[in-house]
């Protein structure tokens, strides 16, 4: 027998690998800065942006990107605590404002939220959370009108795909730099942009309920959810993902969240009655 040849085998799929979610942070940061300059200033004619800063990584990163794109003097951060909000959230939001040197306003939403909820004594935690999110959007858009600053959204791709937001609240700002980035990619970009470690490293939380964390709410880690979402969106089947080594229960959990929330990623359903139905037949892009 002649000399044995080396066999070079392609590596098997690794469900623990982050390789497919890797981002080129410097290139991506410059792209999103260009996006904000173009969409906020050139296309919409605003000099200033207003960002609701919760103290979490998404809104902090958004504020960092806005400050780089527009200059810190053209970015207004708004803290909108409710009386049960974590003190850490408030402190971290202030930290972002201090590090960036942006104007920071604070609007306590407790009176507005409690004023309404007083009429709804049976409201559960979910309803209360939605009311808080919607009041925050009222504040953000009202301050936008008062200050001539365009609201910039902070939602990431994972929460959009999970429907983990309040419809027509967190998702309503007209411009959003992070909406096509998975949460783990947001963390990566945030570190690159210099968002303080205390903010990047803390467990993500909507902070609508005391002690709440996103991953507890989901029942799966962001790291695993993002990988599963990545492949599902590319068209991989559930069977293929299980074959790759993802636990079936995790894949089904992610898929069910994805499949049950398509409606949240769309405008309201309108009865189509004509051949000029808006967005069915009459099609014009947002910036036309």
């Amino acid at each position: 027998m002649s000399a044995r040849l080396p066999i070079l085998r392609a590596p098997a799929a690794d469900p623990e690998s982050d390789a497919d979610l890797k981002i080129n942070e410097p290139v991506l940061a410059e792209w999103l800065i260009a996006f904000l300059r173009d969409e906020v200033v050139e296309r919409r004619g605003f000099e200033k942006a207003i960002v609701g800063i919760s103290g979490g990584v998404d809104s902090s990163l958004t504020a960092f990107l806005c400050a780089r794109a527009l200059g810190p003097e053209h970015v207004i951060g708004v803290r909108m605590p409710y009386r049960t909000s974590s003190p850490d959230s408030l402190a971290h939001a202030q930290l972002v404002a201090d590090v960036l040197g942006i104007e920071c306003r604070t609007v306590d939403i407790s009176p507005a939220v409690d004023g309404y909820l007083a009429t709804q004594p049976d409201a559960d935690a979910r309803r209360k959370g939605n009311v808080m999110a919607r009041i925050r959007m009222i504040v953000l858009f009202d301050l936008s009108a008062a200050l001539g600053a365009l609201p910039v959204g902070t939602g990431n791709k994972t929460e959009r795909l999970f429907g983990y937001f309040t419809w027509h609240a967190d998702d309503s700002p007209p411009v959003n730099p992070l909406g096509d980035l998975f949460k783990t990619q947001v963390w990566s970009l945030a570190r690159y942009m210099g968002v303080p470690e205390a903010i990047v490293n803390k467990p993500a939380s909507a902070d609508l309920i005391v002690g709440q964390t996103d991953e507890d709410d989901f029942g799966i880690s962001y790291a695993r959810a993002d990988r599963i979402l990545f492949y599902l969106l590319r068209g991989f089947t559930v069977d293929r993902l299980v074959e790759m080594g993802f636990p079936s229960s995790d894949v089904m959990l992610v898929k069910s969240k994805l499949d049950s929330t398509h409606w949240k990623r769309h405008m309201p359903t309108t009865a189509m009655l004509s051949t000029t139905s808006i967005n069915d037949y009459y099609l014009r892009p947002v910036d036309y």
Binding site: I23, N24, V27, E30, F35, E42, R43, Y288
Partner: protein, 308 residues
């Protein structure tokens, strides 16, 4: 023969034909003060309107003749030096024979005082491959061009490809087989995928443009749109690639600019002599065509008679 090539990347204002025409005029005027004088200016796909128009195509589409006349008037307003001549290739939404197209116009423009006969439309290329997947929806709004045609200009035999046209290697092949020595690629390429060394679509363009140039021994001039439209940002990177596949000059991703290079058309023969792939293809063309002919035959009707 050496020609002075320029490609400009600018950020059009959505659906504002007059303003975008004026922006093209700015480029022409700037170039007229730059030495050596440019012979050819290449501008991106849909530079006169922006790319994502959806149903708005029908509001901004213009006949090629009107675009030519507007370009000529603009040129003559901006470039006062008698005897000036500039060839331009410009992307626009075209209205022709009751249909809309995503087109590229090649025209020769002359300043006042030059023989008016020299100013003319040389060629109109209608996009042959219309992307209709993912973020793209072209077949819904424009009709498909039916030809890839090389054409003679005062500068040399040329062809135009528009964006996805160039993603199919067969278009560059058709152009080169018809004698094109310069291939102009007008593009509006939205940036996507940020996990690699550069943006994903740009990595693809790097391979494609180099591939076209070095396979066929042609100059490739690429003009890429810039600016964001509804969150989709175009990746610029206009460039000139020589017949060996070397990028002579390259623009940035997001910023406006004009890239310039000298294209020695003598290099085409030198490159082709060193690597005569085009000649090899030409020699085997009958067999290649036979394969295509076979592949393009309608499928046999396998239904049984009673099903017909």
């Amino acid at each position: 023969m050496a020609i002075e090539v320029a490609a400009a990347q600018i950020r059009p204002k959505k659906a504002d034909y007059d303003r975008n025409l004026a922006a093209v005029g700015d480029v022409m005027e700037q170039l007229s003060h730059d030495q050596p004088a440019a012979d050819l200016l290449v501008l991106p796909e849909t530079v006169l309107s922006g790319y994502f128009l959806e149903g708005g195509v029908r509001e901004v589409a213009r006949p090629a003749k009107q675009v030519f006349e507007d370009l000529l008037r603009t040129y003559r307003n901006r470039v006062r030096e008698p005897g000036a001549v500039l060839d331009v290739a410009v992307g626009f939404y075209e209205l022709a024979d009751g249909q809309y197209y995503n087109s590229g116009l090649y025209a020769t423009l002359t300043s006042d005082g030059t023989d008016a006969e020299d100013a003319r439309i040389v060629h109109v290329h209608r996009k042959f491959f219309l992307p209709t997947y993912g973020v793209f929806d072209e077949k819904r709004f424009v009709s498909r061009g039916r030809t890839v045609q090389a054409f003679d200009t005062r500068l040399g035999r040329t062809a135009i490809l528009i964006c996805e046209d160039a993603w199919h290697s067969v278009t560059g092949t058709l152009a080169a087989l018809q004698g094109a020595q310069i291939i102009l690629v007008l593009s509006a390429s939205p940036g996507r995928e940020f996990g690699g060394k550069s943006i994903g679509n740009l990595e693809r363009w790097d391979v494609l443009l180099k591939g076209i140039a070095e396979e066929h021994g042609v100059f490739v001039v690429y003009a890429g749109l810039i600016g964001f439209e509804g969150g989709k940002g175009f990746t610029g990177s206009s460039r000139v690639v020589d017949p060996w596949g070397r990028t002579l000059v390259r623009g940035p991703v997001t910023e406006p600019c004009i890239v310039r290079a000298q294209a020695h058309l003598d290099d085409v023969a030198v490159a082709r002599a060193a690597t005569p792939l085009l000649a090899d293809l030409d020699a085997a063309l009958r067999d290649v065509a036979a394969h295509f002919e076979m592949l393009a035959r309608p499928p046999a009707d396998t239904r049984r008679p009673h099903e017909r």
